[in-house]
Symmetry: C2
Subunit: 275 residues, 2 copies
DNA sequence: CGGTTTGTTGAGCCCTATCAAGGTAGGTGG
DNA sequence: CCACCTACCTTGATAGGGCTCAACAAACCG
């Protein structure tokens, strides 16, 4: 069912990407010259945590996961990357080591652009630099949102938000007033998605069930139909920890709005500078 | 104990910062020309979430917190920023809106550099661009680490790791083999730190107690003395959820009246089986 | 000295993880 | 075509980490 793409030249593939748009032809050929093609089977490691970063990875075809792993063997997936996406930007540009592991989720074709080529382009071309900066900023925005989700949202809400995002991604036109059911198909396995959302597969399954029981959606394998979009939005916006959809809202004990807390007069600052 | 700094020219203050190092004098004066000084009392909002970003904030004196807030009034602090640190880089460079709220934790002096000045410098000076890129990458590294912590570490471990980081920050030389106790003083209130670590103040307090009962550290107000550094490291490295250290010790004493200004070393013998 | 902010302690409960089996589905070989 | 294997997913039971609620103690401040 997955059709192997016809292989075109690396230069052509690179030139096609928004990231490299506007580079001069000779700059592109420079970069293409420092690029090598990688074919990886499913389950192959692309890089390890704490490994020195050698360049930028570019997914041509297939899926790659970025993840952490604890000594106990637990793993947390930071994200899944598909065609035309890049891996390892931040490590590359910090001149440091990778912070995560990267492993293919399926057979993959990748390009690897050597570090010096990127750095050279960065120095020479301010438009390219600007584009890199945009990209890093978006990364920050995404991570920040993730932290917000973990901190302020329940697992249920994270699931709802995820589905909503996914839905709008597949059909950008569908706005919140749209009444018609919206069908989305999960981009990868449920287990992987669960890990991305920082919950266990079991819990994810139960949440989906519960939402289904509440009439919000219906599940059929990896296809999910959102039956009640407005309710979805309502749920995502509220930070209300909704009692189980079918368990009745009888116990309406909302949490007490806590006063903003803790001022302080000392001078130092906490952790390393974010933002 | 906090001494109000003598006010020097904004140009001089800016030139002093690593971020702007290497800029030509006229570039610096350009930037200084677009900079205004802000004096804020404690509790003042610097910006709101979803507000358009007008420029870069620079802390001269005082502390500012970056935080999210849920409809329920719960708040999660992303970070606390002190003298010489900057706020809002990523929003600025994405050309988008702020993702967090910013509020002063104490009376503050700040500088605000208008957006166009930064963007211009970025375009003109590739060294500056490079420095911004480094900074954004560091941001990403920090946030990534944060996500890792939330995903793979218990609250206890996050506390230990935080203290360790703080300890090494105040005394960089102290390496893990050092046996001597290490005293650190928390840079801000415990409530704020708890929020940064994504736990409640109550839980934070209990964890500190438990670590104290285990002989790992002793607490006196905002001063914390790490008694057993190697054990700290061991704990931070393992992802093991250690069984409660003082389960048996609980019956020992009801409470420990804290003595002002002095560490209380007498509370208990350290012979209690830990681990 | 009273009011306010900050920190501690106790009791109870809920969300979520863990452990442990089952189902299902797709691919492979007989 | 069926048996079998290996992911992948679901379901059930149980427990525990961390939060909530509620006081109270301590420190701070004018």
């Amino acid at each position: 069912m997955v059709c192997k793409p016809v292989w075109i030249s690396t230069a052509a593939f690179i030139a096609r990407l928004p990231l490299f748009e506007g580079l001069a032809p000779e700059e592109l050929t420079d970069i293409a010259g420092c690029t090598r093609k990688i074919s990886a089977v499913r389950g192959e490691m692309l890089f390890h945590k704490n490994e020195a970063c050698s360049g930028l990875f570019l997914v041509v075809h297939g899926q790659v996961k970025l993840f952490f792993s604890s000594p106990l063997g637990n793993e947390k997936i930071l994200g899944v990357f598909g065609p035309d996406q890049t891996l390892g930007e931040s490590a590359l540009l910090q001149g440091k080591t990778y912070q995560t592991y990267a492993q293919t989720l399926s057979d993959c074709t990748l390009l690897h652009i050597a570090k010096p080529a990127i750095l050279a382009a960065l120095d020479r071309n301010s438009v390219f630099a600007r584009r890199i900066i945009d990209r890093l900023s978006q990364s920050i925005a995404g991570l920040t949102e993730e932290v917000e989700s973990y901190s302020l949202c329940s697992a249920r809400q994270r699931v709802v938000k995820y589905l909503l995002r996914e839905a709008l991604h597949t059909r950008p036109g569908a706005d919140e007033n749209r009444r018609r059911p919206l069908v989305i198909s999960l981009p990868t396995s449920k287990g992987v998605i669960a890990s991305c959302l920082n919950i266990t597969p079991q819990h994810f399954s139960r949440i989906l069930n519960s939402l289904s029981a509440g009439g919000l959606l219906s599940v059929c394998g990896r296809n999910i139909r959102i039956e009640n979009l407005p309710e979805f939005w309502r749920y995502a916006d509220d930070a209300l920890a909704q009692p189980d959809a079918e368990a009745e809202a009888a116990s309406g004990h909302g949490r007490r709005p806590s006063r903003p807390r803790n001022f302080d007069t000392s001078t130092r600052s906490t952790s390393a500078a974010f933002l």
